[in-house]
């Protein structure tokens, strides 16, 4: 049959699809009806993935820059160039960096990180431009020892209560949004907390439209409401939770005034939500993880609330950070972080390093490196060479810095504006032209087997990295992606039981890690009973301050929301229908927009599409007005999908943007 099963490679949901292959090209796509995650559904992106998979906008020939211009060359010449530069820096590892891709396969990312560490001696290895998902993993690791989403998507209907926090989930991860919607129809109490009215807000039982930037305060108040009403799960806390008293003391200090003025929600309403949460036998929370997800303090607070209500560590319950990109979770699993090795093992752990040494022949360097965005942002770092794997355009916010770097190598399958900065460009096979595994947001490792031939002479990623390593004198002998997985499982306890044969034997289901001797068929949900030990209520800074507007800057501007992220997505630009859909906003608002409530628009005397000036303490930008009652009076929303907005305005607020979903900027809006 010409229908070949595969995994959708757009967002982190990891939906199953069938691709029809005729004359070595993909002719159509169809959802996989019995796939455990997607059960026969796909979103607008997934339904049109064949457009990406047949695009002509591919990199098909290696190139090197000569006299300012890229010229075609052989793999050997391009690879020699990379090796020459990186070898010369080997004694100064802080001067080079490896920017891994949250889209590449596990095998590719593992080798990419190994190349950095084992061959070129650096720990300056990181994933995408923003650290949202790392925040989630840190919290879950510290609090429960389980650095991943707690529940499988399949179990959402088992939850009696679902909290959706600051994520436009029906747009970002539509099929997970669908499961939440179906659960709501089935009787699950769905509560959405967001500063903008999203689609899931309309489909929820309760929608609390909190003030921008008050997620942490809201969760603190929710914790207080649980405790004040004596709703905490006392028996569970006694047997399985440490640190309850500290958390209780931290939130006890919150006053009703502070809660109401900070969140814009009455304490009675929050108490009502606390009662619903406590009444449920099973409860889940979903939040954005990835590009501008929640900050760590907010997730810690959320963890505590769910821990003290007994909702972490059992079937149908838990915290679920939702990854925006197809292999963001897998990227972290493969150790693409300056201080991590695969499977969230600490680089500083001597035992882990020696286990690696047994397999690699040498220990990975012991001192943690720095993340690439950090290195790019900090002008004082001596970054001289950067190796980039398949990447979106978000990083181009550092365009000026990129121009200053002596040497950039870009390795990827699709044409990308990043190549303008590259000195060497090396093509690799795309998802369907090689074997590989992807790990979705719910820790499901799925095998994607080769379906079509790569364009003439283009090699798979594992092959290219092997060639680079061998050219640099390392003794790498992989002859397939499967060989790479066979090594990954030896150094990664959480993947220990995985093999291509086992993945194949499970048909289209994949395996959810941890998969090891104790869990040969994987681990669908995090079970505290099975894991042993206790949950830790996590220490909080106790700072619940919410930024407020002032008379000079009366509106609170929300930025950095993730739903418009797909505009900057390099893959989206290689399609027709999704490009049209995602570009509509850009076509309607070529200079970007600021969304304000109709009451504020009336007061300002502006109408839809009029140009206004958004002024903050540290900058201003001219954008169009979009009037919508999806934002409350006194708040404004501006997604950063236009390069000029990023460069002229948002870059001046880098520190604020680091707060992710809680980031707000006080502004005033002037008519121009």
């Amino acid at each position: 049959m010409k229908q070949k099963h595969g995994v959708c490679t757009f967002c982190g949901t990891g939906c199953g699809h069938f691709l029809a292959v005729e004359s070595d090209t993909v002719t159509r796509v169809f959802p996989s009806q019995n796939h455990p995650v997607s059960k026969g559904r796909l979103c607008v992106r997934g339904w049109n993935i064949h457009e990406l998979l047949t695009t002509k906008e591919r990199i098909t020939v290696p190139m090197v820059r000569e006299d300012g211009v890229l010229r075609e060359c052989t793999y050997d010449e391009a690879i020699s160039k990379v090796v020459d530069v990186l070898s010369s820096l080997k004694s100064r590892p802080s001067e080079m960096g490896f920017l891994a891709s949250p889209r590449a396969t596990n095998e590719e990312t593992y080798l990419f990180s190994k190349l950095g560490r084992a061959v070129f001696n650096t720990n300056n290895i990181s994933l995408d431009s923003e650290s949202g998902h790392r925040n989630s993993l840190n919290v879950l690791h510290e609090g429960a020892g389980f650095p991943g989403m707690n529940c499988p998507v399949e179990d959402i209907r088992k939850a009696e209560f679902v909290l959706v926090l600051g994520i436009d989930i029906t747009k970002q991860n539509p099929i997970i949004g669908s499961e939440i919607h179906l659960a709501a129809q089935n009787g699950t109490q769905v509560v959405t907390v967001d500063s903008r009215r999203t689609q899931i807000a309309k489909l929820s039982n309760d929608f609390l439209q909190i003030h921008p930037g008050s997620n942490t305060l809201f969760l603190g108040a929710l914790g207080k409401a649980v405790i004040d009403q004596k709703l905490a799960a006392a028996d569970f806390i006694a047997s399985a939770v440490e640190g309850y008293d500290d958390f209780a003391a931290t939130v006890a200090g919150l006053t009703e005034d502070q809660i109401v003025s900070g969140t814009g929600i009455s304490y009675d309403d929050i108490k009502k939500i606390a009662r619903k949460l406590a009444a449920a036998n099973t409860a889940m929370a979903f939040f954005s993880s990835g590009i501008s997800g929640l900050d760590e303090e907010t997730i810690r607070c959320l963890f505590n609330v769910f821990a003290i209500t007994g909702n972490i560590g059992k079937e149908g319950s838990g915290l679920n950070p939702v990854a925006g990109l197809n292999n963001l979770q897998g990227g972290y699993d493969m150790g693409a972080a300056p201080d991590l090795l695969s499977g969230f093992q600490s680089l500083e752990d001597v035992k882990v390093r020696s286990a690696y040494a047994a397999e690699w022949g040498s220990e990975p360097p012991a001192i943690p490196g720095r993340s690439i965005p950090e290195l790019l942002e900090d002008e004082s770092t001596p970054l001289k060479a950067l190796v980039v794997s398949d990447h979106d355009e978000g990083i181009i916010r550092y365009a000026d810095r990129l121009k200053e770097i002596d040497f950039i190598a870009y390795i990827g399958a699709f044409r990308n504006p990043f190549t303008e900065y590259a000195d060497v460009v090396i093509p690799v096979a795309s998802y369907i032209e090689t074997d590989g595994t992807f790990t979705n947001t719910e820790r499901r490792i799925q095998l994607s087997e080769k379906k079509v031939e790569a364009p003439d002479g283009v090699l798979p990623g594992w092959n290219v990295y092997t060639m680079i390593a061998r050219k640099a004198g390392a003794d790498w002998n992989y002859s397939s992606a499967e060989d790479v997985m066979n090594e990954i499982v030896k150094v990664t306890p959480r993947y220990a039981g995985v093999s291509y044969d086992r993945l194949r034997s499970r048909g289209i289901a994949g395996i959810q890690w941890p998969c090891d001797g104790n869990n040969p068929e994987g681990t669908p949900f995090f079970s505290l009973e099975k894991a042993g030990g206790k949950l830790k209520c996590l220490a909080l800074s106790g700072d619940f301050e919410v930024k407020t507007a002032d008379p000079d800057y009366p509106l609170l501007l929300m930025v950095g929301k993730a739903q418009h992220f797909w505009h900057q997505n390099n893959l989206m630009k290689k399609t027709y229908i999704p490009l049209r859909e995602y570009n509509a906003t850009l076509l309607d608002y070529p200079e970007g927009f600021v969304e304000i409530n109709s009451a504020d628009a009336y007061e300002l005397g502006v109408r839809n599409h009029w140009t206004v000036r958004v002024v903050s303490l540290s900058g201003s930008m001219d954008v169009a007005v979009k009037i919508s009652d999806d934002v409350k009076p006194g708040t404004a929303y501006s997604p950063y999908f236009v390069q000029d907005m990023i460069k002229k305005f948002l870059l001046g607020h880098t520190n604020i943007l680091r707060q992710g979903e809680d980031a707000t900027i006080p502004v005033r809006i002037e008519k121009v």
Binding site: M1, V29, P31, Q33, W47, K56, I175, H181, Q185
Partner: protein, 352 residues
């Protein structure tokens, strides 16, 4: 009607015979996933009793993406070179369900039955041999009895198969069909078989209550409402709020025919004109150059879709309801607003 008989165990001989002249497509089941497809296949792999295929055979005449032509304009000589790129081998669709044939007939009306004849569609559609298969038991998602499209095909086939005890009744619906049956030397069936077939079809209809449990669609009641427009706006808003704008309902619909045209420039200076499936659920579908969008809110676009499927005015175009009762839109919808659900909401005036 000229009728023949074939032994049950020999029924795929017809597909094999067709294979001599045509590319044979039929229902096949993927072993890993258990999913049914309607695909190009070796005749002996066809599983006539498989549940209705997850994807309708619409793509055989109207591919999800297709290059219609390549063209080149030479600025200096002002010469234009245009080359058609679509091509089609003669296809035999074997074991088509009646709902899918009804969908094909709707597409025929749209692409061939109006002022302009769509040449690419015509090339795919001509020289096609269609063998339908009567559903002697309905599947759980079916409601073709409400949309006049089953459980047995009534027109548009070359041969129609109906399983009766240990034989298949083979009805010839065209000269082409009759000639094939005669060439194969099939035994003629006497008139008593027409009675037996009617009994089988009646029995199938009676089984809907018990088997077709997923979808109860009181289509006729709602057709009136959709046509006259007496539906509260907040009912459409309730439905629109649940739309994820994925396009799935239109893509799996056997009768949906909307498409998008894109011109892509090649590196060598030529351009290609592509046709892709489009969906009224997409905002960009109704957006005009200049930014005006007469159907910007999603509920307006949903409203349009169900007008297409359920209104009398649309029936005048298709000469039948636009909905063929296959139930696929309910399978694939992340918002749980497949057509039967919408019919229910409209009937009960469900709103927030």
């Amino acid at each position: 009607m000229i009728m023949f008989l074939i032994k049950k165990s020999d029924v795929l001989e017809i597909a094999k015979e067709l294979g001599k002249e045509y590319q044979v497509l039929g229902p096949v089941v993927d072993t890993d996933s258990g999913q049914t497809f309607f695909e190009k296949t070796e005749p002996e792999l066809i599983q006539l009793k498989a549940p209705i295929p997850s994807v309708p055979p619409k793509y055989t005449v109207f591919p999800q993406i297709e290059t219609l032509m390549r063209y080149r304009y030479d600025r200096e000589s002002k010469a234009v070179e245009i080359r058609e790129l679509y091509e089609a081998k003669p296809k035999a669709l074997f074991g088509l369900r009646s709902c899918d044939l009804s969908g094909l007939l709707c597409l025929d009306r749209f692409f061939l039955g109006q002022e302009f004849v769509d040449e690419a569609y015509r090339v795919h559609r001509k020289k096609m041999f269609i063998v339908t298969n009567t559903c002697v038991t309905p599947f759980k998602n079916c409601f073709c009895v409400c949309t006049d499209s089953g459980p047995a095909a009534e027109e548009g086939y070359d041969l129609n198969l109906t399983e009766l005890d240990d034989v298949y009744l083979v009805e010839a619906g065209s000269d082409k069909g009759r000639e094939l049956a005669e060439r194969m030397g099939l035994e003629k069936a006497d008139e008593s078989y027409a009675v037996k077939k009617k009994e089988a079809v009646d029995k199938s209809v009676s089984l809907f209550e018990e088997f077709a449990t997923d979808s109860k669609a009181w289509i006729s009641r709602v057709m009136n409402r959709v046509t006259t427009g007496f539906i509260r706006e907040d009912v459409w808003e309730y439905i629109g709020d649940q739309c994820f704008e994925c396009g799935a309902c239109t893509f799996v619909c056997p009768s949906c025919s909307c498409f998008n045209i894109v011109d892509v420039n090649n590196a060598d200076g030529s351009s290609e004109r592509l046709r892709t499936w489009d969906s009224c659920s997409y905002e960009g579908y109704s957006r005009m150059a200049g930014g005006h969008n007469p159907r910007k809110p999603v509920e307006d676009r949903r409203n349009k879709r169900f007008f297409c499927k359920l209104s009398y005015s649309q029936m005048k175009k298709y000469l039948r309801p636009g909905c063929v009762g296959c139930g696929r839109c309910a399978w694939v919808c992340p918002g749980n607003i497949g057509l039967p659900k919408v019919v229910e909401y409209v009937r009960r005036e469900t709103h927030k």
